[in-house]
């Protein structure tokens, strides 16, 4: 079977690129790590890929604000190729720092062209925190979360993950359009308070998608839960049939096959 091609975009400070590539590989795709300089110089063309993945890390040190400098670079220097990629009906995923980049470039929630509508700011605890969280996945148009329909368990690790919008109207808009596709919750799915909501995000939002459901970003790290040994209970006790994180990658790859 031919495999969808994934462009894992990396730059100075990207650091979850290898495990993201591994996760896509497990899910049946062919992933390639591509430095942003190579893309900007034309050494690789975004057109040749089916999925663009923005992995976690600290792009450019998260200087100014998390993801800001790479978001600016995408918006100013790679705008055309990204626009062409999206309008060709292809997929984009941003994880952690990648999510911050998608939000700060305006690609998410993506209701206004390249204009930032929401933000991810410093956690209410004012510090970086790494912990495992439970996540609710409501029904939505998002192709990445399709059919999961249960509470999943993934690690978060970030200092700037508090999702916020400029005003309640814009938040309402995201919720009404069912773009808030991953939310922090308790183990039983009920509404979360700190630390179950690890950063103070509005409406417990952990991840959102654009109106098409093809562009998706989230703070938690699905690529860190694609093997049972990664689970805090080592696959013992509360064992699920398949590690939760891999479901997201498989969804993306399944959809991308249609683009082959």
């Amino acid at each position: 079977m031919k495999k969808p091609r994934v462009c894992i975009l990396r730059t100075a400070g990207t650091n979850c690129d290898a495990e993201t590539a591994f996760a896509f590989g497990l899910a049946g795709a062919q992933a390639e790590l591509v430095h942003v300089n190579l893309l900007a110089a034309g050494g690789r063309k975004l057109d040749d890929y089916h999925i663009l993945a923005l992995p976690g890390g600290f792009s450019y040190g998260d200087d100014i604000a998390a993801g800001k400098v790479l978001a600016n670079e995408l918006r100013c220097k790679l705008r055309e190729s990204v626009e062409r990629f999206i309008s060709a009906g292809k997929l984009v995923i941003g994880i952690c720092n990648g999510f911050q980049i998608l939000v700060k470039s305006g690609l998410l929630p993506g209701n206004a062209q390249w204009k930032q509508e929401a933000s991810l700011v410093i956690n209410d605890s004012s510090k970086f925190e790494a912990r495992w969280v439970h996540l609710r996945i409501p029904e939505s148009v998002c192709v990445w979360t399709e059919g999961i329909g249960r509470v999943i368990y993934l690690p978060v690790a970030h200092g700037e993950g508090k999702f916020m919008t400029a005003d309640t109207a814009s938040l309402r808009c995201i919720l009404d359009k069912r773009q808030a596709v991953v939310t922090y919750c308790n183990e039983d799915g009920s509404a979360a308070v700190y630390p179950a909501n690890p950063n103070g995000s509005q409406a417990d939002i952990a991840g959102i998608c654009d109106a098409t459901g093809r562009i998706f970003g989230l703070m938690p790290h699905p690529e860190r839960h694609v093997q049972s040994s990664q689970h805090p209970f080592g696959g013992r006790g509360r064992k699920s049939a398949e590690p939760d994180g891999i479901l997201i990658f498989k969804n993306g790859v399944r959809y991308a096959r249609k683009l082959l």
Binding site: R10, A12, G13, T14, N15, C16, A18, E19, F22, H35, N37, L38, G56, G57, F58, Y60, G61, D62, D63, I64, A65, K68, V69, N72, E73, C76, K77, K104, Q116, E117, A118, S119, V121, I122, N123, D124, S125, S126, K127, F128, E129, A130, R131, W132, P155, A157, M164, T165, A166, H221, E223, R224, V226, Q227, S229, Q230, P232, G234, G235, G237
Partner: protein, 970 residues
């Protein structure tokens, strides 16, 4: 034109940074602060229009959702002093690297705006509330800035000073005719930290060649011969004498020791000849075999002196440095995890009693943790294991141990620079920062250290190093260089000097890329600027290598070549500034002989009567800073990045229990795992460093065993942090600790593969020098074949059986229980290797067979702490009986519930077994010390029955957990 831009959170939004500072101010004991607002300040200098400056603010610097900005001409800015509060603005000192500047410049260029020549940043804090000027000053000084690297901006625009040009002038130091007194002064004033004998040897060398040395030559020799680089204490001669009772276990006897390291630590490895040891004590880290095509390397470093002066920067560059050790091992290893172990003064120490020139322990701790967090997280290396210990003795000299392990292909483990190879320096640029780090850390700290040695303090740039890792690994795999080493202490001087020790090297110093002009040739040569590596490159491959680096914005430059002349020749713009014989540099140092004495201290062993209820004693130990939960620290580290985390540092049903060791699966495609743990206990060293060392090895090993790690695939690293070795009593302890290492490691069959020492951890004030408690960190690393065989420490199921494995002895000396009763004692825990080895092996076999539900090792706080931690981490109750535990004690009066519960005897575990595994378990341990002491229960209480069968402890596990979590829940 300079624009001043202030970016701050919109009114009404929660200011997380400000809130954090409000809490810290309260910790200082200053009340009355109602709010702190944080503002980020940017100064942009250059040919930029007002309209473009506005765009830079809107599109790059201010977050449109959460922030507002203020743009003005810096020339017209006047700092306001608001009514009802203070405004404090902090900026970096000239020459201190600020990575944000580069990112802002890049962002502006990406916007299509050219002409921004220079960017500076500052932080402004507006402190609202009713406080005095002196309180505001105190807040600024204690929390907001460190004068070694930052300053308070007093006036409006701080224009960037144009860097001064450097005018070459060769400087010679008159040494040939110098008297002894002059030699001493020369060493002291030049911060060379060389003794008279060494200065005389240098004088003789230069007299022999008929000229005085250049400043650069003298600096080079001082660095090469520094304690930090040449480890003269461990390699020199030691005249050792001990006074111990004839029957004392662990006598080594007075003797002349020719090379302490060779006679103890390295001797173990040599004698054990483990076939899986690949490279030991010869490279920047030790290498052992891992799986088919890959090996694992591991190194632990210390960064104590810099962390004492600037905790964030010191820890930051400490972790950065040990990562480069990994990169500079063989032809380069990929870092896969970090470890960190700290020793601090007490966090609640009174400000009043703090010696002059010392930062408060809480500030040191917060700074160090932030420094590790910043560097480790940004590098994408999980920080998986550590420990934190507290004692008043670390108030002036905190200890910061940083470790890094890497994965390296089998065929990349060795390197050799060839004659004619070019010398390439890659990574960060060279600046004036970090001058004299190597020599500075080879002396004691004093009140003046903060002014005299401030140049030795730096801030790291993890992203620069991350780029270096990314590109270096590609260059390694393409075979583009023949040798590599890191630029650490001693800078180029040390890196080129070591790499070219056999061949000789010629360097043209003006070719080294600089951060700014104005550096003299000597400064370029000895600067310890971070994030640099030195490579030996075949001339035909140099262009490809430099292009590979450039493709990812890493700067690299050819600065010289390895000549084959056996000489170190340095040029600056065509002028010869140093010409030294490599042989003299590396072998010319006079052998030193130091004196060491050891006398057994007399500590009383008279305990108060045993309390009838041990609940409060247990809670007090759980609440001690050493034992209590370190969750506040651990959560700030990304311990999951790279996806290899299998045994997490926090474990249990609520993911908050204390794991014994970390289990990492560094290659996602392999089921093999690396287990890493640490053993450290300075309290035992107050009685006898020999048994402290043996106990540390036992602790490191038993934590590995608790997680299922095989004894016969475990290797060790040693890190000694000690006081001034020129003082015989300090050195006597160090000798005993080294011999204790030999005894335990040899008996357990554990080779040392690498190590490091940091001596001179003393602080001179009020005319008296205070040494740290001599502290040894043992790091253990083991290879487990199948990650699914990992065993964890938290209670799993009610009804399961609880065993104690290993013999509890009357060894209360140095225990936390004694300490809390104001005692040190003399009955220090010893090791009994024959019995212990059988226990470890049996547990290994049981783990491999999947027969162990959970295992937790007994360390500080003994059985009591271990049982409590196992119970509350698993959310289950536990009932145990002390009468059933095997306890060995000669004195009947010392058969006491408290001693059995809190003795810190080595080689012991609490083990949970499901009832159906009872027979298998007992058969495997037959003939060894173990006993069934109780069961796990649903009721949520820890119940301990004493020797008389009556309950001597009954506590809710929730209350025990709260006692354990509360102290460091910051």
């Amino acid at each position: 034109m300079i624009y001043r831009i202030e970016v701050l959170d919109k009114p009404g939004l929660f200011d997380a940074v400000g809130e954090g500072i409000v809490r810290d101010i309260a910790d200082l004991g200053i009340s009355g602060v109602s709010e702190v607002r944080y503002t980020q300040v940017y100064l942009i200098e250059g040919e930029v229009t007002r309209a473009d400056a506005g765009r830079i603010c809107r599109e790059l610097l201010a977050d449109p959702i959460s922030q507002d900005y203020l743009l003005c001409d810096a020339a017209f800015y006047e700092p306001e002093q608001p009514a009802g509060g203070f405004s404090v603005e902090v900026a970096y000192n000239p020459g201190v690297m600020d990575p944000v500047e580069e990112s802002v410049k890049k962002g502006i260029l990406d916007l299509g705006i050219k002409g921004a020549a220079c960017v500076k940043t500052a932080r402004k804090y507006r402190i609202n509330g009713n406080i005095s000027v002196s309180q505001a000053d105190s807040i600024a000084e204690k929390l907001l800035y460190n004068k070694l690297i930052q300053h308070i901006v007093r006036r409006g625009a701080s224009s960037s000073h144009p860097p001064s040009e450097y005018n070459f002038r060769l400087s010679r130091v008159r040494i040939i005719g110098a008297s002894d007194a002059e030699l001493r002064r020369l060493s002291f004033q030049g911060q060379l930290f060389l003794n008279l004998d060494e200065m005389r040897t240098i004088k003789a060398y230069f007299a022999g060649i008929g000229r005085d040395p250049t400043d650069c030559e003298l600096e080079t020799i001082a660095q090469t011969w520094s304690e930090h680089c040449s480890h003269k204490t461990f390699r020199g001669r030691i005249k050792y004498s001990e006074t111990l009772p004839r029957s004392y276990k662990g006598r080594i006897g007075s003797r002349m020791i020719k090379g302490l390291l060779k006679s103890t630590i390295m001797k173990v490895t040599r004698e054990l000849r483990k076939p899986w040891c690949v490279s030991v004590f010869e490279d920047n880290s030790g290498i052992i075999k891992f799986e088919g095509r890959n090996n694992v390397c591991f190194k632990v470093e210390t960064h104590n002196h810099p962390s004492a002066l600037e905790p964030f920067g010191g820890a930051n560059t400490g972790i950065g440095g040990v990562i480069r050790d990994c990169l500079g091992t063989g032809l380069g290893a990929k870092p896969v995890f970090n470890t960190d172990v700290f020793c601090f003064g007490l966090p609640d120490y009174s400000f009043k009693d703090l010696p002059a020139g010392t930062l408060h322990p809480k500030r040191v701790m917060k700074g160090v943790v932030s420094g590790v967090r910043d560097y480790g997280n940004k590098m994408g290396i999980p920080t998986v294991n550590g420990a934190v210990l507290f004692d008043e003795g670390f108030t002036c000299n905190p200890l910061v141990y940083c470790g890094t392990a890497g994965i390296i292909p089998q065929d990349k483990c060795f390197k050799k620079a060839g004659k004619g190879d070019l010398i390439v320096v890659a990574g960060g640029r060279t600046g004036r920062d970090g001058i004299h780090g190597a020599t500075f850390s080879s002396g004691e700290l004093t009140e003046e250290s903060e002014t005299v040695s401030s140049g030795a303090v730096q801030i790291g740039n993890p992203i620069e190093e991350k780029k270096l890792v990314d590109t270096l690994m590609q260059a390694r795999d393409r075979g583009l260089y023949s040798s590599v080493t890191d630029c650490g202490a001693g800078g180029l001087s040390s890196a080129v000097g070591e790499m070219g020790a056999e061949l000789g090297a010629k360097v043209e110093l003006e070719k080294v890329p600089l951060k700014y002009s104005g550096l003299s040739y000597s400064e370029i040569w000895i600067s310890e600027s971070q994030e640099r590596m030195v490579l030996a490159v075949d001339g035909r491959k140099a262009d490809e290598l430099i292009a590979l680096f450039a493709a990812e914005n890493v700067e690299a430059a050819v600065i010289g070549e390895f000549t084959g002349s056996g000489r170190l020749e340095l040029f600056y713009r065509g002028n010869l500034v140093a010409d030294l014989d490599m042989k003299f540099m590396h072998d010319g140092r006079p052998d030193i002989e130091k004196k060491a004495v050891f006398k057994l201290p007399a500590h009383k062993e008279t305990a108060k009567p045993c309390p009838s209820d041990l609940g409060s004693a247990l809670k007090k130990i759980l609440s001690s800073y050493d034992v209590c939960s370190k969750e506040w620290i651990i959560r700030q580290y990304d311990h999951e990045v790279q996806g290899g985390s299998a045994g997490k540092p926090l474990t249990g049903v609520a993911c908050d229990g204390p794991a014994d060791a970390a289990v990492v699966r560094p290659l996602m495609s392999s089921r093999k795992a690396v287990i890493v743990s640490n053993g450290i206990n300075f309290r035992f060293g107050r009685i006898d460093p020999y048994w402290m060392a043996a106990s540390c090895i036992d602790e490191g090993l038993r934590q590995v065993v608790a997680c299922g790690g095989p004894v016969d695939r475990t290797a060790l690293l040693d890190n000694f942090c000690w006081g001034n070795p020129d003082k015989p009593d300090r050195l006597g302890g160090l000798v005993r600790a080294s011999y204790g290492c030999y005894y335990a490691a040899k008996a357990y069959g554990l080779p040392f593969i690498s190590g490091k020492d940091s001596l001179y951890n003393e602080y001179m004030y009020a005319g008296k020098s205070r040494a740290i408690p001599g502290t040894l960190l043992i790091s253990a690393v083991s290879v487990l074949d199948d990650v699914s065989k990992t065993v964890s420490m938290y209670a799993k199921e009610a009804g399961d059986l609880i065993y104690v494995v290993g013999l509890t002895r009357d060894e209360m000396g140095g225990s936390l229980y004694y300490e809390q009763n104001g005692l040190t004692g003399s009955s220090v825990p010893m090791i009994y290797p024959a019995q212990a080895m059988k226990i470890f092996s049996a547990l290994n076999r049981l783990a491999a067979a999947g027969a162990l539900r959970s295992v937790h090792d007994c360390s500080e706080g003994g059985l009591g702490v271990s049982a409590a931690e196992m119970a509350f981490s698993g959310g289950l109750g536990m009932e145990i009986s002390l009468a059933d535990a095997v306890y060995k004690c000669a004195d009947k009066k010392r058969r006491r519930n408290d001693f059995i519960l809190f003795s810190e005897s080595n080689s012991r575990f609490i083990v949970e077994i499901s009832p159906d595994k009872k027979r298998v378990f007992e058969r495997e341990l037959k003939g060894l010390s173990f006993s069934l002491i109780g069961t796990l229960e649903e009721h949520g209480q820890l119940i301990v029955r004493g020797l008389d069968g009556r309950v001597c402890l009954r506590e809710d596990i929730a209350g025990l957990k709260e006692a354990w979590q509360k102290p460091l829940r910051w």
